[in-house]
């Protein structure tokens, strides 16, 4: 161990987005010596890209809202595969977490009477998303960052963690490298919190940044932890489709929350024909009714109409858009139209959706106050992740915690918009709290033995082997294309089996990638290392998707198009055993009667 730079902490938090920052703040507040380790500069994490808002039943705009309605919406959105206890804790604690942000200096948009304003979003019965225009994530990350820097947390920026180190069954620390110098580093710790985000870089069209290379998912699996719900990927219905440069870049659901409508090339609002059985009766049936709802919302009144079908859950809207395009009713560049220009005034659009206005004007030469946007689905969010104890966020490996997108179970088969920012606050706090407790109750550090570290270091340096010859960028590109076409929005047994064969071939090639230059700030080398995470997690997703022979939420099977009640009682667990990645079934925990009755209305 002496060969490498070594640090000792009670708690190491990996990832400095909302979940990681919130976890580190809490761990530190509990008295644990805490490190926050992140791949980018502090404040640049994926959370800054969250736009629409944070869901919390504050009931500032509609007094009928409460945690029970939020809980019910979340479970329905997840098609009842969610770990009910996580969904319950989330709905109950989100309001406190949002108010706490205000006490730490966050400035949310205001209601007329000066309270935190809330907006409508898909799948939420009432206006529930506290927001700051369309840059809510930036506000949250900056608030947490500014809180965190005064709290005595050590921040290790531009440092990538590659491996969880174990002493017997429990966590002993983690191993990684400094991106700038390329030097290896060992963090010895009593607890590790994974807050590494998602896996979107395995797909070609994605709203996710370079950081989303499945690091935490893979490290947890390699360390022996269970993953859950890995077949469920959220394709956000509205990504940009043109020009190619911005394909996949996110367009906030807030556009539809503010009254935006989806149109096909015949200018038809096709979402009226796409209301699933489960939501029948809850959405407007005519354009007139939908318009009445928007008019009431704009006028700050309680609507006497049902909401527009554009605000159905993301899985439903993404599939509907895909169908319009497949059946020849798409826009010129293979999407559909999202129109806000004919619904709201230019000044309202610029006020409520400023970064959308800017993004389209600068990058697509479209003025969204005058013309419709072209949109299509983009890989956005990983519902699946590390299986955790709902109360503590501890994984099945003692001392290893997970929060935010890398955690699994909260969202079931489909996440509602706005529930991600609240998820990372609620469970980030809990992960930090319980990781600190775990660390403070542990008397001594586990041993990070040299063999584990040497193996990890050797693996990292393999791409400098002179006998290699593959380009890491090319292998990555092929993986992305493969996952896009064979493990995308709609899947089939043949496609998934094909994908497994191809993943194995790509793995052979990934073992032979070669990078030039030296270890200092070398993105080619960094990507070469990341291929192993992405390949293993792509395999995990594909195997889980093959196993689930039904369609539900973010998992649609062409060959099994319906939801099956038996599958509705079952989560899939992915675990690495030896070198094999295996899938098993796990029955859902029964929901207590008092929660069950919320669905009997």
């Amino acid at each position: 161990m002496g060969k490498y730079q070594t640090f000792q902490y009670d708690v190491v938090v990996v990832g400095a987005g909302g979940a990681g920052l919130r976890a580190a703040i809490e761990a530190s507040a509990q008295g644990a010596k805490t490190a926050l380790v992140c791949k980018s500069l502090l404040g640049k994490a994926h959370t800054v890209m969250a736009e629409g808002g944070v869901a919390a039943a504050l009931s500032n705009v509609d007094s009928r809202d409460d945690w029970k309605v939020h809980f019910r919406d979340t479970m329905k959105g997840g098609k009842f595969l969610n770990q009910w206890r996580m969904a319950q804790i989330h709905a109950q604690e989100a309001p406190s977490r949002v108010r706490e942000l205000e006490e730490w200096g966050a400035v949310f948009d205001r209601t007329k009477d000066g309270r935190i304003l809330q907006r409508n979003f898909g799948g939420h019965t009432y206006p529930r998303l506290a927001h700051v225009g369309d840059r809510t994530g930036l506000e949250i990350i900056r608030t947490l960052q500014d809180k965190g820097v005064h709290q005595g947390i050590d921040v290790h920026m531009e440092c990538t963690i590659r491996k969880i180190l174990k002493d017997g069954d429990r966590v002993a620390g983690c191993f990684g490298y400094q991106r700038e110098s390329g030097r290896f580093v060992v963090f010895q710790s009593k607890a590790v919190v994974l807050a590494t985000g998602g896996i979107g870089r395995c797909w070609e069209i994605t709203s996710n940044s370079w950081e989303y290379t499945a690091d935490g998912h893979a490290m947890a699996m390699w360390a022996g932890a269970d993953l859950i719900d890995m077949e469920f990927i959220q394709f956000h219905p509205t990504g940009m489709v043109w020009p190619p440069s911005v394909k996949g870049t996110l367009i906030t659901e807030g556009v539809r929350g503010e009254g935006g409508v989806l149109l096909n090339k015949d200018r038809k609002r096709f979402m009226f024909d796409n209301v699933p059985e489960m939501f029948r009766g809850e959405f407007a049936e005519t354009e007139e009714e939908a318009n009445r709802w928007v008019a009431a919302v704009v006028a700050n009144k309680l609507p006497d109409a049902r909401r527009p079908p554009e605000l159905l859950t993301r899985d439903v809207v993404a599939r509907a858009i895909r169908r319009e395009v497949r059946e020849g009713r798409g826009s010129p560049h293979g999407g559909v139209f999202l129109d806000i220009a004919s619904r709201r005034s230019p000044s309202e659009i610029k006020k409520k959706l400023p970064s959308m206005y800017h993004q389209f004007k600068e990058l697509a030469d479209v003025d969204i106050t005058k013309d419709p946007m072209e949109v299509g689905p983009t890989c956005h969010y990983m519902m699946g992740g590390v299986r955790v104890n709902p109360e503590t966020q501890e994984s099945t490996v003692p001392g290893l915690f997970a929060a935010g997108e890398v955690g699994g179970g909260m969202h079931g088969s489909n996440r509602l918009g706005g529930n991600s920012l609240s998820d990372l606050l609620v469970f980030g706090k809990r992960a930090g709290e319980f990781a600190a407790k775990c660390a403070l109750q542990t008397s001594s550090f586990g041993s990070c033995d040299d063999d584990q570290i040497e193996v990890a270091a050797r693996e990292c340096l393999e791409p400098f082997d002179e006998s290699h010859g593959e380009n890491p960028y090319a292998v990555h590109e092929q993986l992305r294309t493969l996952m896009q076409h064979y493990v995308g929005i709609v899947r089939s047994q043949d496609d998934l089996k094909h994908a497994l064969v191809e993943i194995e071939q790509l793995r052979q090639r990934a073992a032979k990638v070669k990078v030039g230059g030296n270890i200092q700030f070398n993105p080619g080398w960094h990507l070469a290392m990341d291929l192993s995470n992405m390949l293993d997690i792509s395999e995990a997703v594909t195997k889980a998707a093959l196993e689930r022979t039904e369609s539900r939420g973010g998992h649609t099977r062409e060959d099994f198009p319906d939801s099956e009640s038996e599958w509705g009682k079952m989560n899939l667990i992915v675990r690495q055993e030896g070198r094999d990645i295996n899938v098993s079934r796990r029955p859902l925990e029964p929901m207590p009667a008092e929660l069950q009755q919320l669905f009997n209305k």
Binding site: V107, L363, A474
Partner: protein
């Protein structure tokens, strides 16, 4: 636009380096960051460049394109004259780590000096303030920390006064706290004694380059300067302070 474009990219570190030429094919709507990525994927895998959101929201990819500070992800290639090479250099004000990545850690050190938000006592009531009050500070809170303003500020760029001057980014941040309707902290001493607000002679270079269009000079720096003048140089106040010393205004 031509099918091929020539990029001249700085390769090297703080000690030595050179502008290297790369040719890549162009696609419609391409931004400079796409072009740099294309070079990375096909010709120079170890080319260092920071990026994250690719939509102007995270402020990671600041650099100087043909001498102008820009976010690479928002800088359209078709704005530049066809057939002419495009030069991409790292931000000048900060030491180069490698290629286009610079060491901006000084900014994080300055940030730490600024006292945190301190909630005023709302006597147990839910805090309330109007959207108009929110608007004023939300403008400052839009900042994505790209540090382009720091890069062009002559106090930092030409005079390298990093020990005595905070720079526009942190005047914006301080303004966002000082004008926050719920804040109860006083940062005027800090602005005067440690952040050198007086060095700013309002040339508005920072405002010009801000990708978020924050009116840095007019809305943040000038009002803060006025507050300093009121606090420290108003003769009546000075007398009052001598007669009634108080810990804050």
């Amino acid at each position: 636009m031509d099918e091929q474009v020539t990029l001249m990219i700085y390769r090297g570190d703080n000690v030595q380096g050179e502008m290297k030429e790369y040719k890549i094919p162009v696609a419609p709507g391409m931004v400079v960051l796409d072009a740099v990525h294309a070079v990375q994927a096909t010709q120079a895998p170890d080319l260092a460049v920071r990026w994250n959101c690719k939509a102007g929201k995270c402020g990671s990819c600041g650099a100087e394109v043909n001498g102008r500070p820009r976010l690479l992800c928002m800088d359209r290639m078709d704005k530049y004259p066809a057939g002419e090479p495009i030069a991409v250099k790292p931000l000048k004000t900060f030491p180069v780590i490698k290629d286009l990545a610079t060491n901006v850690s000084w900014n994080y050190d300055v940030n730490k000096k600024i006292p945190a938000f301190k909630m005023r006592d709302t006597k147990g009531e839910e805090p309330r303030f109007s959207q108009e009050e929110a608007d004023r500070v939300q403008e400052f809170r839009k900042c994505i920390e790209c540090f382009l303003c720091q890069n062009v500020c002559h106090v930092l760029r030409e005079h390298d006064e990093k020990n005595t001057f905070g720079g526009p980014r942190f005047f914006v941040r301080t303004a966002g706290l000082e004008m926050h309707p719920l804040d109860d902290e006083n940062r005027l001493d800090l602005l005067k004694d440690q952040m050198g607000l007086g060095y700013c002679n309002i040339t508005k270079c920072c405002t010009e380059v801000c990708p978020e269009s924050i009116a840095i000079t007019d809305n943040a720096i000038i009002p803060l300067k006025e507050r300093l003048v009121d606090q420290y140089y108003d003769p009546l106040r000075k007398l009052y302070r001598i007669l009634f010393p108080a810990k804050k205004t």
